[in-house]
Amino acid sequence: MARYLVRRVLWALFLFLAVTVVTYVIFFVTPADPARLAAGQGATPEQVQEVAEKLHLNDPLWKQYGLFLKQLVVEQSLGESFVNRRDVNDIVLAAAPVTASLVFGGAVFWLLLSLPVGIISAIRPRSLIDRAGMVFVLVGVSAHPVWIGLIFAYFFGYKWGLTPITGYCDFINPSLGAQCGGPVQWAYHMILPWLTFMILFAALYVRLIRANVMETMNEDYVRTARAKGAPEGQVMRSHILRNSLLPVITILGMDIGLALGGAIFTESIYSLPGLGRQILVSYENFDLPVILGITVFATVCIIVFNLVVDIVYAWFDPRIRLS
C-alpha cells in the first residue's frame, strides 16, 4: 500500500508539472499583450513597460515558470491576478465551493435518475421504461447544455416562475451584503443548474449502467446464485449490482474530478460565480495567474479523485486489494 501511494504521488507530481508547463507554453505562444491589458486603456508605452517589468513578463519563459513554481512551493501562493491584483488563492477558494455545489449536487441527481432507469431497462429490455430511457439518452447526449439551460430558464424560471433564473446563494456564512443565504436558498437557486448540468451525465450513465447490468446478468456466477435458490432481489443486489457498478465507480470519479475544474456552460448560463465562469473571464483578460491557478486546482482535483477511485475500487473489488 505504501509503495503504491508513493508511486501515485510521484506520478501526480509529474502530471502536475506537465499540465502547468503546457499551460505556460500555450499562454506564451498566444499573440496577446497581457501587460497592456493590465496597464489599462490609456496607459503610455512607458507605463506598459513598467507593468511588464513588474509582472516579470519580460523574463524568459523558463524563468517565469521557475518563479511560479517557487512561489507555489515556498509561499503556497498562486500569485496575484494581473488584472486586479487580487490573490489568486482567494479567487480560487471563492469560486471552488460554487463549482463543487454544482458538481456534487448534479452527481447526486444524475445517479438518482440513471441508477433506477438503467437497472430497470436492463432487467426489462424493450419495455416501455427501456424505450423511454433510450429516447431520454438520445436527447440528453445530443442537446447542448446551453440550449437545455436556456429552455429550463425560460420555462421554469421566466414563464412559470418556479425557480430563480440566475444567481447563487452561499450554503453557509453568506457574505455581507448578499441578497440571500442558507441551505434552503442555496438549493433553491441550484435546482436549475443541477438539472441542466446533470442531463448529459444522466443520459450517459443510463446507457453505461444498462449495458453493464445486462452484461453481468449473463455471468456464470449469477446463474450459480440462482441455482443456489437465491430470490431475484438478492441475485440483483448481491451478485449483479456489486459487479456491474465497478466500472461506474471509475467513470464517476473521473467525471467528478474533471467537472470540478469548472462546468463552464452551466455556470455561464445561470451566472454562477464558479471556476468555469472565472476561467472564461480570465481568458478574456489574459490573466495568466488566475488561469494557472484554476488549472492547478483542476489538476489536483482530477489527481485526488483518481486516487479516491482507486481506493474505493480496491474496497469494492478484492482482486485489486492484494495485487
Binding site: 456464470d220 446463474r223 443456489k228 448481491s238 451478485h239 478484492p318
Partner: protein, 340 residues
C-alpha cells in the same frame, strides 16, 4: 420409485431467427445413489435439459413441456417460488467453468453461507461453520483460514471443489453436474471425479453427469443417455454402451475416442456438423451425417425401442439387428470392446 423421472421433456427458445427446439422429447430416470450420464456434442441439448429441470431457463424466451417428476412432484408445473425452495436444497448444480462460476467480489465463506442461509434458519455463525466444514470435506487445506479468501486466490481445480462444496452443503438429493471437469486439466479431472464419487457414496446423492467426454462417462456413470440434436438416440447401462453400442452416432462417438486397449491407425470421425435446431432435417436427425442412411430415415423419425437382447438398452434407429450387432465390432477395430 425413481427420484427423478423425466418424461417427454421438450424445451424451445424463441430467437430472432425463429423457434429453436433445443430439447425435443427426452425421457430418463435417475435413482438415489445412481449416476446418469448424458452425453453428446455441444449444442445437442444436454445443458438445456438440466437447466429446464432446474427451472433456470429464461422465462422470457423459453417454453417447456413434458414432465419432470422429482420425488413425486412435477418440476415443470411447480411455481417459481417452489422451484427456488428446491434449488440449492434438494437439487443442486455445478457448472462447467469454475473460473467464472463464483462471484469474484464475495468471499468463499460468504458464498457458501449464502447457500446455507437461503434454506436453513440458522445464525450467520452457524452458516459459516458449515461452510468451513464443507470446504474441509472437499479437500481444501486449512478450510478455517481459506474460508475468507476470494475466488481469484484459488486455482481452477480448487474452485471446482468449492463449487461442489457449495452444491452439496445442504445435502441435496440430486446433483446435476454440467461438464464439471471440461475446463480442468486431466489430473485435476480425475481428482474431481473421485471426489464426486466419494461424496455420492457418503450421502447417497443421485447425480446427473452431463458431458461430451465418454471417458468421464466410463468412469462415473451407471446409465447413459446419448443425445443428438435435442433427442435421446440411445440409452443403456454404461457397460452396454461400450460393449454393444447400437446407434451409428454412438459408434461415431466411441470411434473418435482414442483407446489404450485398441490399436488403430486412425480414429473414426463423425463427418459433417450437428444440424441447426432452427430447421432440423426431416426424419432421423442424424440422417445427413449417417453412412447407413436409408430412404425411410429421411422421412420418418425413429423412436426409442428396446433391444431384443436387453430391455434396458434402447435406441432410435431403423437399421436391422444384423447391422447393429455387426458394425460396431468392425468399426471399432473389433478386439477389446467392452467397458474398461
Amino acid at each position: 420409485m425413481a427420484l427423478l423421472e423425466v418424461r417427454d421433456l421438450r424445451t424451445s427458445f424463441k430467437t430472432d431467427d425463429g423457434i429453436v427446439q433445443a430439447v425435443d422429447g427426452v425421457s430418463f430416470t435417475v435413482d438415489r445413489n445412481q449416476t446418469l450420464g448424458i452425453v453428446g456434442e455441444s449444442g445437442c441439448g444436454k445443458s438445456v435439459t438440466s437447466l429446464t429441470i432446474m427451472g433456470l431457463n429464461n422465462p422470457r424466451n423459453a417454453t417447456s413441456s413434458g414432465q419432470a417428476m422429482f420425488d413425486g412432484e412435477d418440476l415443470l408445473a411447480a411455481s417459481q417460488d417452489r422451484l427456488r425452495e428446491l434449488r440449492g436444497q434438494k437439487i443442486a448444480m455445478i457448472f462447467q467453468d469454475p473460473m467464472t462460476s463464483l462471484n469474484p467480489v464475495k468471499s468463499l465463506g460468504w458464498q457458501l453461507s449464502e447457500a446455507v442461509l437461503l434454506h436453513n434458519d440458522v445464525s450467520k455463525k452457524e452458516a459459516r461453520d458449515r461452510a468451513v466444514t464443507a470446504l474441509g470435506e472437499v479437500g481444501i487445506p486449512k478450510p478455517g483460514k481459506r474460508v475468507d479468501d476470494y475466488p481469484h486466490q484459488f486455482s481452477g481445480g480448487m474452485r471446482q471443489r468449492v463449487m461442489i462444496a457449495m452444491a452439496l452443503i445442504n445435502e441435496p438429493d440430486l446433483l446435476i453436474a454440467d461438464e464439471p471437469t471440461t475446463a480442468l486439466d486431466v489430473t485435476t479431472q480425475a481428482q474431481i471425479l473421485e471426489l464426486m464419487r466419494r461424496l455420492q457414496a457418503k450421502h447417497g446423492t443421485a447425480i446427473i453427469m452431463i458431458t461430451h467426454d465418454l471417458g468421464v462417462i466410463a468412469e462415473v456413470a451407471d446409465d447413459v443417455v446419448v443425445m443428438y440434436a435435442g433427442r435421446a438416440i440411445e440409452e443403456a447401462p454404461v457397460d452396454q454402451i461400450y460393449a454393444a453400442p447400437r446407434h451409428p452416432y454412438t459408434w461415431g462417438l466411441l470411434g473418435s475416442l482414442p483407446r489404450m486397449d485398441v490399436d488403430t491407425d486412425r480414429l473414426v470421425q463423425v463427418p459433417g456438423q450437428p444440424p441447426s435446431l432452427l430447421n432440423p432435417p426431416a426424419g432421423c436427425r442424424f440422417n445427413p451425417r449417417c453412412t447407413y442412411t436409408m430412404d425411410r430415415c429421411r422421412v420418418e423419425m425413429p423412436e426409442l425401442a428396446a433391444s431384443p437382447a436387453s430391455a434396458g438398452h434402447r435406441d432410435a434407429c431403423f437399421l436391422d439387428e444384423a447391422t447393429k450387432s455387426r458394425e460396431p465390432g468392425r468399426l471399432l477395430a473389433g478386439s477389446g470392446m467392452g467397458a474398461g
